[in-house]
């Protein structure tokens, strides 16, 4: 799954990738006419809307691609760099840059592009840009406060607006197409010889409709992860997709036996995990099951991966996700930690074993075990649990004292302009 960089591409190779991408970026900017300040400034005076056309088309194309690849599960959007939101700085910086655009006629990327073909005003603009960064650097003590105020993290616009990703994408595409039509009308009035003169009306109309159709499809494309997480939250899905189960007794036996072929995956919140966890358990919340860093642990074919949560429901979801991702030998702990604590650790005498959640219908105590066997079995179980209670308590205490929880190393993609 993409992106490739944190895990598959080395830092040096990444710089070569940067150079190649830059060449494509620069070539396209120049071909579009972004090396010309007169053309760029035209967007504000109505004689040339090239900036708006190129910019909006590029943004909408990349956004649609991100959503489609995310839906297909090819792009891990959790690893994608989302520009963090600092509300005051975003507005203040944007306003200053708006002045810079009108007065200077370029933005940094386009000025570099203009410089490359010999535009003297572009070279001076780049020089000004360097001075601007230097001024900021020297005055940083004054600017630091507002730059870092209102830190809201990697906020997504559709969450801020309380709508779905797909719906926002469609709205943005519709806005873009609307803006293309309106600006073409304006441009033809302001300058009948402007760039819009060249457009073939039929082709452009067709392209506009195609783009709107893609946008309409996006409305129904949730992110791959969200899709999985929603699917496994559905009771019906859970009932039709059974997962192998392990009883508290079996798990306790294997743990006490120090069976190396069993891994306990605890899917509860970190705080619950910290207060009580089974020996050797690893804390992986359901949506983290997707992450690459756990693939080694979850990918051990011959190890039983026992998913546990408080009451088994969450564990079932995580186990299904794991199985869907291709991990084998996935189990859920019957009754979850709660029952494990009651039956094994506290050894509360209980009359009968409740079946696992989705076995209830098939379970018939009358036919399950003959009465005398059942009695013998109950006695065996009781004996085992009395021993197991002591052993487990000791093991949990021991594990807590060691408490060398594996440090999670999450490689994050660096970004920013």
């Amino acid at each position: 799954m993409f992106p490739l960089v944190p895990n598959l591409i080395s830092e040096e190779l990444n710089l070569i990738v940067a150079l190649l991408i830059g060449i494509a970026f620069g070539f396209i900017l120049e071909q579009a006419g972004f090396s010309s300040s007169r053309k760029l400034a035209g967007v504000f005076y109505g004689y040339d809307f090239t900036v708006l056309r190129v910019f909006f088309t590029a943004g909408v194309t990349a956004m649609s691609g991100v959503i489609i690849l995310g839906y297909l599960g090819w792009l891990d959007t959790d690893f994608m760099y989302i520009n963090p939101t600092f509300m005051q700085a975003a507005v203040l910086g944007g306003v200053i840059m708006g002045f810079g655009f009108i007065i200077g006629g370029f933005c940094p990327g386009t000025s570099v592009c203009g410089m490359a073909i010999g535009k003297i005003d572009a070279m001076v603009f780049v020089g000004g840009g360097l001075i601007g960064v230097f001024v900021y650097g020297e005055l940083y003590p004054w600017f630091e406060g507002i730059t870092n105020a209102d830190a809201m993290g990697p906020l997504r616009i559709f969450d801020s607006l309380g709508m779905s990703q797909g719906l926002f994408a469609f709205a943005l595409i519709a806005m873009a197409v609307g803006a293309f039509i309106a600006t073409t009308v304006i441009e033809r009035k302001v300058d009948p010889d402007g760039p819009a003169k060249e457009f073939n009306a039929a082709t452009h109309r067709l392209a506009g409709l195609a783009v709107l159709a893609v946008g309409a499809v996006l409305v129904f494309l949730p992110d791959y992860k969200e899709r999985m997480l929603t699917a496994v939250s559905d009771t019906q899905y859970l009932e039709t997709h059974p997962v192998k189960e392990m009883t508290a007794d079996e798990l306790a036996f294997r743990l006490i036996d120090r069976d190396p072929r069993v891994s306990v995956i605890d899917v509860r919140a970190a705080a619950d995990f910290a207060s009580l966890s089974l020996p050797g358990a690893v804390n992986i919340e359901p949506r983290q099951v997707f992450q690459k860093e756990y693939s080694e642990l979850l990918g051990q074919r011959h190890t039983r991966k026992v998913f546990v949560s408080s009451d088994e429901a969450e564990a079932r979801k995580a186990a299904l996700i794991a199985r869907h991702l291709g991990y084998e030998n996935v189990y859920v702990l019957c009754g979850g930690i709660d029952r494990f604590v009651a039956q094994i650790i506290m050894n509360t005498p209980s009359t009968a074993d409740e079946p696992c959640r989705f076995q209830r219908a098939a379970y018939d105590p009358q036919t399950a075990v003959p009465p005398h066997d059942e009695l013998r079995q109950a006695k065996d179980t009781e004996r085992f649990r009395t021993k197991a209670s002591v052993a487990m308590q000791a093991m949990i205490k021991e594990a807590k004292q060691k408490s060398v929880k594996p440090v999670k190393i999450v490689k994050k993609v660096a970004g920013g302009c």
Partner: protein
């Protein structure tokens, strides 16, 4: 000198694919002003290393960037932009040392305004953590709230003040 440019929608589509490829391969978007920052940090660090280590802005950037601030992703990307832009200029026969300006101002005035505009853009990009490429365009691709707000602020301000600066361009 030929001045035919590519159809803007086609150029936008290709630019969008480039940006998408960037996100898919590297997990991050395009940028430009970050390279200016690297250059300034590197220059200050060379000319006045002590100042660079005492001043918070440079010190922070020296820490987060590579030991050599020029060995940064955006620096290489912007070098690529220079090469790509030059190649395009060769292909379309647009290489020339010229100053573009509106009809009502002199070249000297234009260069003065270009310097001020560049300065403002460099400054503003530090606040917004990115410019038109890194914050606005890449932010739109990943639907970042901050990026889209910056985009609206740039273009909104541009339209709001365009009238007062019309002498520069028309």
């Amino acid at each position: 000198m030929k001045t035919t440019y590519m159809n803007p929608y086609l150029a936008g589509f290709l630019l969008g694919l480039t940006l998408l490829a960037t996100i898919v391969i590297t997990g991050r978007g395009l940028g430009a002003s970050g390279a200016l920052k690297s250059a300034v940090v590197a220059a200050v660090n060379t000319v006045a290393p002590q100042h660079a280590h005492e001043s918070k802005f440079y010190a922070e950037n020296l820490r987060s960037l590579h030991e050599n601030p020029l060995k940064a992703w955006l620096v290489f990307e912007v070098l690529g932009v220079v090469i790509g832009g030059f190649l395009s200029g060769v292909v379309s026969d647009r290489l020339a040392f010229v100053t573009e300006k509106g009809p009502r101002i002199t070249s000297t005035m234009r260069l003065g305004f270009a310097l001020i505009g560049g300065l403002l853009f460099g400054l503003g990009a530090q606040f917004a953590r990115g410019c038109t490429s890194g914050a606005a365009l890449s932010g739109m691709a990943v639907l970042s709230t901050g990026g889209i707000i910056t985009m609206m602020a740039i273009f909104g301000t541009g339209y709001a003040i365009a009238y007062f600066f019309r002498r520069l361009w028309i």
